[in-house]
Point group: C2
Chain length 322, copies 2
């Protein structure tokens, strides 16, 4: 607990190495997973372009498939997979080159890995990623009574998740494969062209500075974490993060399997009680946003110079409450 406190107390990302995660790191090969007898139906993102571009038509689709089919498809991207020959027979969902991404969320309650994939949860124990289990290792690296959800993430090599923020603290534990996580502190928000909880800057390696000139202010303020098996990253709430599963290559070219745990960073009543994915803004913030929109709408009726004059004074009034 003291160590967990130490990890989160600075409010900055922390990489943890040598993370205890049971036998999962050794066990979770494509062979093991396809023959595991897991019957769970999964909803998989089938992605063509590597990531979604907010503000454009989505370039991915959802497909329901069994866990076994997912593993077959994901691992057929991987060099040296034993299934490679067989998987040739699986035709693409959309077209060749597509990538697959599972984020095991539920839609009626926050996801819980122990319920959705009990055998995989067992593989992670004894460890410090998931709570409970045998009891011999009851410690986790996050505050147990603030637990929100736990999610399995399986991705084809090269899959990218666009830059976004969550509203819960998050521990991303890498079990297999390799990920590069690029992060920005919450105060980078004004420069990231945020829409909802996602940045519109789709290419963070070669950003389009014509469309996103402000991004140059924070381009070199990124934090970069490279995670391999047995490593975990603490992602504080509101930190923007972009996640890239390492592209296929001789050394790391394997599907990425990670487990992440969300936990509350605010008192329970300040979080949205209906937040399934750990990313809903606190009700106080949503309420403030609505009030501010109404305030802006009221002022917008006035002609100049009244509009600018009262806009400044209204914003000042808001700021005085902080």
């Amino acid at each position: 607990e003291e160590f967990a406190e130490l990890v989160t107390s600075r409010g900055e990302p922390v990489i943890l190495t040598g993370m205890p995660m049971g036998k999962a790191s050794a066990l979770w090969t494509p062979d093991y997973l396809t023959s595991s007898g897991i019957e769970t139906d999964t909803t998989v993102v089938v992605d063509l372009a590597g990531h979604r571009k907010p503000g454009t038509r989505r370039n991915f689709t959802f497909r329901k498939m069994t866990f076994g089919e997912l593993i077959q498809r994901v691992s057929s991207n991987c060099a040296g997979s034993a299934e490679e020959a067989n998987n040739k027979s699986l035709s693409p969902v959309v077209s060749f080159g597509e990538k697959y991404y599972l984020r095991s969320v539920a839609h009626k309650a926050p996801a819980d890995l122990s319920c959705m994939f009990p055998s995989l949860a067992a593989d992670l124990r004894p460890g410090m990623v998931l709570p409970g289990g045998t009891g011999e290792c009851s410690h986790t690296l996050w505050p147990r009574d603030a637990y929100h959800s736990s999610v399995l993430r399986i991705a084809s090599p090269g899959t990218a998740l666009w830059t976004h923020y969550d509203t819960h603290d998050n521990l991303l534990a890498q079990v297999r494969g390799r990920k590069t996580v690029t992060l920005w502190a919450p105060d980078a928000e004004p420069f990231l062209y945020v829409e909802g909880s996602s940045s519109r800057v789709d290419d963070i390696v070669v950003p389009d500075l014509t469309r996103f000139p402000l991004f140059s202010e924070v381009s070199d303020k990124r934090w970069v974490a490279s995670l391999g098996p047995g490593e975990a990253l603490y992602i504080p709430a509101l930190w923007f993060h972009h996640v890239l599963s390492h592209p296929k290559c001789p050394e790391f070219g394997d599907m990425s399997i990670a487990v992440n745990v969300f936990w509350r960073c605010l008192p329970e009543q300040e979080h949205d009680a209906g937040d399934l994915y750990g990313n809903k803004d606190p009700p106080a913030a949503r309420q403030a946003s609505e009030l501010a929109a109404r305030a802006g709408a009221a002022i917008s009726q006035l002609p100049e110079p009244h509009k600018s004059f009262y806009a400044r004074r209204t914003i000042k009034r808001l700021a005085e409450q902080l």
Copy 2:
């Protein structure tokens, strides 16, 4: 009407010379006014320090006195007044050196000079300050159907009125004595330490830049108008103005008498229907301010970094409506 449109169309102060104001300029001597038989009781500001300092205990008091007593007291400040000898018998309200300032407002309806001082209103006609009258001169320098109120202002030499804004357009017509009006555009507001509708920068000649460092940004953006008898100043709504009645001196050392007319600058329903003095913020602006205060209060409950993060987003949301 075209000329009136020309005066107001730029949204900037304009000095008008040779303003028709009947026989008032010639007639309104202390002798004439004390012997005018006006019985109206007036509430006079008795001022010790030359102006109020917002944020400190007020350094003026109110005293009810007859119009005749006011004129006696005000003109006893003046060099060469015929009443000077007699007025020695009037003891000070508070102490020697006090100044007197009448602003003829009513408290149940907007002031109307023609009702409160019909004989003085008659002296101003035919002219272009007050509406109506003989009909031979039915033009005013402001839109008649937007008329709000008309106010008589009589001040001892050296009386200053602190920097403030009104929410109605205003024509300040100088009948007797001399005034210096110092103005700032509405966009100077962030630098004027405004509380309510008044600037806390009490000394605009030798400003206290230790207490009011931002004032240096706008100190040389002031507009200065010197008004003598027969001259008038258009003061657009939201323009900050500081008014100094000229101190006693051989040339101009006389009480200041001015008449000002307020008129609506917004559609009638956008002004506060209960605005007696021409200075109430529009209901839309007041409503916006309350909403913004509630928004700020909601966010202020959150700890950092949530508070700063959502404050920025909330203000952005407000600004997007403008």
